[in-house]
């Protein structure tokens, strides 16, 4: 039971991460294509605020404050009762609201598969493709050292 709960939480977090990293345009497009419902009661926001970003001294030492980032959040309740949240970098309020609705729908066992297959999976695959392209472009700039043979024989 605890194992199942932990797995659910990890999957929900992964879905929220995918939504946070995706562009608002991509979310709206897939949302409309899938005909997902956008009726929900707004319990909070969407509102924009600041999160102070922390790093660690030397990379792994004590935390310190680096600077702030804009973050937009929203909390919604579905007619069926599920409450969903979104926190995402940037100031896209439409994206925050839809992502919060997606989080609420994801928690409804009857809707989870639909949200995963119609929304999360395509978003995640687009992100993975972009990431792989970036990795391969960076890899092409990797230095291959070779030794010069000096002198004869």
């Amino acid at each position: 039971m605890r194992g199942q709960e932990a797995r659910d939480q990890a999957e929900r977090k992964a879905a929220m991460a995918t939504l946070a990293q995706s562009s608002g345009d991509d979310i709206v497009r897939l949302w409309n294509e899938a005909g997902l419902p956008s009726q929900a009661e707004l319990l909070r926001g969407p509102e924009t605020g600041l999160v102070t970003l922390r790093g660690r001294i030397g990379g792994g030492g004590a935390p310190f404050n680096v600077g702030e980032a804009t973050v937009t959040r929203a909390t919604v309740r579905l007619p069926s009762g599920q409450v969903g949240h979104c926190y995402a970098l940037g100031r896209d309020k439409q994206k925050a609201k839809l992502a919060a609705i997606a989080d609420a729908l994801w928690q409804d066992p009857a809707r989870r598969a639909e949200i995963e297959t119609r929304l999360i999976v395509p978003l995640r695959s687009a992100l993975a493709t972009a990431q792989e392209k970036r990795r391969a472009e960076t890899a092409a700039t990797k230095v291959d050292f070779f030794t010069m043979v000096r002198g004869e024989d």
Binding site: F64, N65, G67, T138
Partner: protein, 370 residues
């Protein structure tokens, strides 16, 4: 008697509309769009984000246009904007070891896990102006190379295995990271607060100070252990979720400077470290920050404080270009009353001086006047 003086309202309004006109420039030239600035002046955007201390590309691009490309004015605009927003909290510390690396070089190890990745760098370019760019020539897609995703541990972790380098900077167990946006600066300050100030500090000022340490003013024998640029994930603990909320990714530049240290009464001979972490792709700034961080650790490491770069109060008090520009630029605002008072004072001092140096001439003058 105090006489209030008003005026200049019409002049100010007209000056601002003239500013708007000059900012737009020749109307036959298309207006800049923010996405053009974000995409094509990306490093300028990164500088405004880092010194404005606000990670938001579109806002930084807007600030650059509004400021007509004046970077310090743009940074000022961003700083002012961030005071209008509520604060949601402090993120979990980012893990630069898990970065999606876009550039990673080390000047201390040739062969290191993950390798040397040059990325989109100006290094090794010939610094020749490119007329093709002016003509708007098409740009080819970059090459790709298929590789297995490789772990890229920080170089500091590799050096640590030999025990010849100090560990990542630790603070006492119960230490809460200081925040200069909440509490006024106090000296001496802890290293975490110094790093926050340096991360938003003026690139030119920190660059000059870093350079001064290389030229012998508090020499500290630096090597670039590693520079890495790329995206890291950001998370925030919030009460409404049973796990940290994932916020998305931000691009940062990290510099690990490694410095030879011959030892002191406080510490044995070893490699010491300076650390730089900056928003966006801001390599020069991250390096300058790391040099200054190391120089400012002089008293912690038992070194003599002999140069400006080691003087914490001097460096941190003057590193913020918004504060600096505010105080310097206020000098051009009306000081008519102050100046009248000074003028009166200088006239009296001059009269006294002349009376002392040349009593007869003053006497003659007075007689002539009578």
């Amino acid at each position: 008697m105090y006489v209030a003086v008003k005026g200049g309202e019409a002049a100010i309004a007209n000056a601002h509309s003239l500013l708007a006109d000059r900012r737009r420039g020749d109307r036959s030239v298309p207006a800049l769009r923010l996405d053009q600035i974000v995409e094509q002046l990306a490093l300028g955007v990164d500088r405004v984000m880092s010194e404005g201390s606000l990670y938001d590309r579109e806002l930084a691009a807007l600030a650059i246009v509004q400021a007509r490309g004046d970077m310090i004015e743009a940074i000022f605009l961003v700083r002012a904007y961030r005071t209008t927003l509520p604060r949601f909290g402090y993120s979990k510390p980012i893990d630069t070891g898990a970065m999606l690396v876009e550039r990673r070089v080390s000047a201390t190890y040739k062969d290191l896990p993950g390798g040397q990745l040059l990325g989109p760098t100006f290094d090794y370019t010939h610094r020749l102006l490119d007329p093709e760019l002016a003509a708007g020539a098409d740009v080819a897609e970059p090459l790709q190379r298929e590789t297995e995703a490789q772990a890229m541990p920080r170089v500091s972790a590799i050096l640590a295995r030999e025990g010849l380098i100090e560990p990542d900077g630790e603070m006492p167990q119960d230490h809460v990271p200081g925040d200069i946006t909440r509490e006024p600066l106090e000296f001496p300050m802890a290293r975490d607060i110094r790093l926050q100030a340096l991360s938003r500090g003026d690139e030119g000022f920190l660059l000059a100070l870093g350079y001064s340490t290389q030229r012998g003013y508090a020499r500290n024998h630096p090597f670039v252990g590693e520079i890495r640029i790329g995206e890291v994930e950001l998370e925030l603990d919030v009460p409404e979720l049973p796990f940290a909320a994932p916020l998305g990714t931000v691009r940062v530049t990290e510099c690990q400077m490694v410095n030879q240290f011959k030892g002191s009464a406080k510490a044995p001979p070893q490699f010491t470290r300076g650390y730089g972490l900056v928003f966006g792709q801001s390599e020069r700034k991250a390096m300058a920050m790391a040099l200054c961080d190391r120089a400012l650790r002089a008293s912690e490491l038992g070194e003599d404080i002999v140069a400006a770069a080691q003087d914490e109060e001097f460096v941190i008090s003057h590193s913020d270009n918004v504060q600096a520009t505010g105080f310097v630029e206020h000098l051009k605002l009306p000081h008519y009353v102050d100046f009248q008072a000074e003028l009166d004072l200088v006239r009296r001092m001059r009269a006294e001086y002349e009376a002392r140096e040349n009593p007869t001439r003053v006497e003659e003058k007075r007689e002539a006047a009578e």
